[in-house]
Amino acid sequence: MKSVIEEIKSMGKGKITFADKFYKSNDVKTVMGEVPFKEILFLEYRDTEAGSNPREYNGLQKTNLEIIKSLLMDYENMFRFLHSGMIISLTSAEIEDDRTIRYSECCLTNGNQTRFIILIITLLKLFLKNGIPDKIIAKEYNHFIKSNFNGDTIETILKYIKLPKVNQVIGFLNKNSKYREKFNSMDIQNFLNSRIRVQVNLINSIIRDLENEIDDYSAGTLIAEANNDTQKVKADDIFGNKRKDELAKYIFNNFLAEIKDTEIEYRMGEVVGTSKKVHILTLLRPIIPTGILTKEQDIYQYSNKREPVYRLFEKLIQNREKEKAKNAISAISKVIPIVYSIRNNYLIPQLGLQKKKFMRNYEAKAINGDLDDTTIRNEITFNNGELTDKAKGAIRKIVNYNVEHIIPVLIYRIRRLFKESNVTGNIELTISDSDAPAFFNGLIESIYTKYVDLKLKGTASSLTDIVRSSAFYQSGEEAYIMFKNTTGLEETDYIDKHKFVIK
């Protein structure tokens, strides 16, 4: 058993190996083939640079029930033909040979339910030594997981397999003797080497030729959401759906009153036919870096993860009758519209212009040999003195940005500039309208420069680490202090006064 556990733990880690030679399209944007189950057990699917799959594991509902049946019935032969396969998006993917792809980040955009079922079966097969019990005891199961599985990705995936979901499978096996026998006679090695069809989207190749600017994360999430949009998403699993009424009434009430031309999307894809829509995460995420709901040290980690954002707001809504929570909710509701307008009026346009500037500057640097001590030095190649497409692609990859990475730092930097208007009661900034463009543009340039610098130096293991580092949150500090000193910028304690720290 130990050797099997060690084997499956060693899977993934930036590499996916197919069972046979895979198909590769001429433009190297699509790869298709078959992979053994063991390769897909711990693929990431949430909030990765390769996108974020909006669907969690639903348990043995109707479709998943059919999946587990077909899986147990004949995983070795028929399963791969009865299942439509998985879709995986990869960033910085490099084809090592005709069976292996190396990558930086991965998002399992389609087939997540199947993966979880295969993973639960695997875990049960490894965990159960004396037949199938009526129910699994939490203490024993947790001990088994903790003592055998570690590592960030593995722990993250396993965290989403709640014990009731595992016991659901136990219940299913106990009720169905046919499948129970199949499970009991299953050879774990054969099971793990059974295959599933996989389609791989190589995001860097996909976005390289696009006219419109789009970063890895946006492209990956677009794919993940499109893949999942047509399927039934369990409403209860989605915070937006569950808390739609409370969000509209307490958190977004000022936004809805002030910004009338934009519809809020409580579940991805529900608003169609209008370009003016905004997802709840876009509005909620920038509240975290104000520090109104968290301890200071948690800001860096929470701002760039979906789950803590939703969890914090879930708890805030649950506590909405408490006086301090009421205060915080009122302040948050007032801050959301101004943060949204900063995003649209300054951040997005400035990032677009700045990206073009970075492209120009880094191409000139590459030509002049000034990128020799950076992570992309090996990709800087020339053809007749001109930078090759590969080199331009490498530079584009470095200067690509994700708005959701930059906005938390910008809001973190300006959080002491919110004040309540004596006239309207709305939140405004202490900075004048005439100074605002220069202030924001300077700050955004400074933050974005740090973002690109950190990527170029490659000190962190992934972009996710970079954007969750305290070092990144220090960017823009000098620009802010300089502006503050030269213009006599007034700071306020508005956020501190309305703080409601959620543990």
């Binding site: 346009p349 073009k356 120009r360 000139a364 030509i367 007749n384 003195g385 605002a436 463009p437």
Partner: protein, 205 residues
């Protein structure tokens, strides 16, 4: 004479060109906090910016030529038959090259033969320019000439290049061309000055 003055010349050009590009892109972007320009205004401004960029390039080239020659004056001395031991500084070189009449070196392709005659190979930055860079420079000047003269001849020359390089079947005013695709051509062509400068700078590392 050392490389410092030459690198300063490059920095001055690159900063000025970058400012032009940024200004042009800000106009095109219709920034929410700025008064929006009409398409007609945008076209006129982009044309003006192109002319300005060309003027900056010409000033840069003149200076680059003088400074490059000054690094080793032997070729120039031989070329114009001065005594071998003649000592030339930047002012004298400028006087020799430019004082009697207007000389126009903006077209590097055409001037390269002359540059080779007067600049030592080790210090000749113009030889580093790529074919594509020279082609874009030439195209820039076709537009500038058209905007300076509005003559049938300059229009025909420009149209031929629209057709040859971009496969456009109809003539369009430079402003229209520069504004196309959110100013993609504008950025590409004006930034070419900076990329040329970056290539040339390699001689002085």
């Amino acid at each position: 004479m050392n490389f410092k003055s030459i690198l300063k010349n490059h920095t001055e050009l690159e900063e000025s060109i970058e400012n032009i590009i940024q200004y042009g892109q800000e106009i095109i972007a219709d920034l929410p906090y700025r008064e929006k320009k009409t398409a007609k205004e945008k076209r006129m401004l982009l044309e003006a910016l192109l002319i300005r960029a060309c003027a900056l390039w010409e000033r840069f080239i003149e200076k680059e030529l003088i400074l490059s020659v000054c690094l080793d004056t032997n070729k120039l001395i031989k070329e114009i038959g001065l005594p071998e031991r003649a000592k030339l500084n930047t002012k004298l070189i400028k006087a020799i090259l430019f004082s009697d009449h207007y000389r126009d070196f903006h077209n590097v392709e055409r001037s390269i033969g002359f540059f080779k005659k007067i600049i030592e190979d080790t210090y000749n930055p113009f030889t580093l320019l790529t074919k594509t860079q020279k082609q874009k420079l030439d195209f820039n000047y076709k537009m500038r000439n058209y905007l300076s003269h509005y003559s049938d001849f300059s229009q025909r020359k420009l149209y031929n290049d629209y057709n040859r390089l971009y496969d456009y079947k109809k003539f369009m005013e430079p402003g229209n061309f520069l504004l196309k695709n959110n100013g993609k051509h504008f950025e590409d062509l004006i930034n070419n000055f900076n990329l040329m400068s970056a290539r040339m700078r390699q001689k002085f590392k």
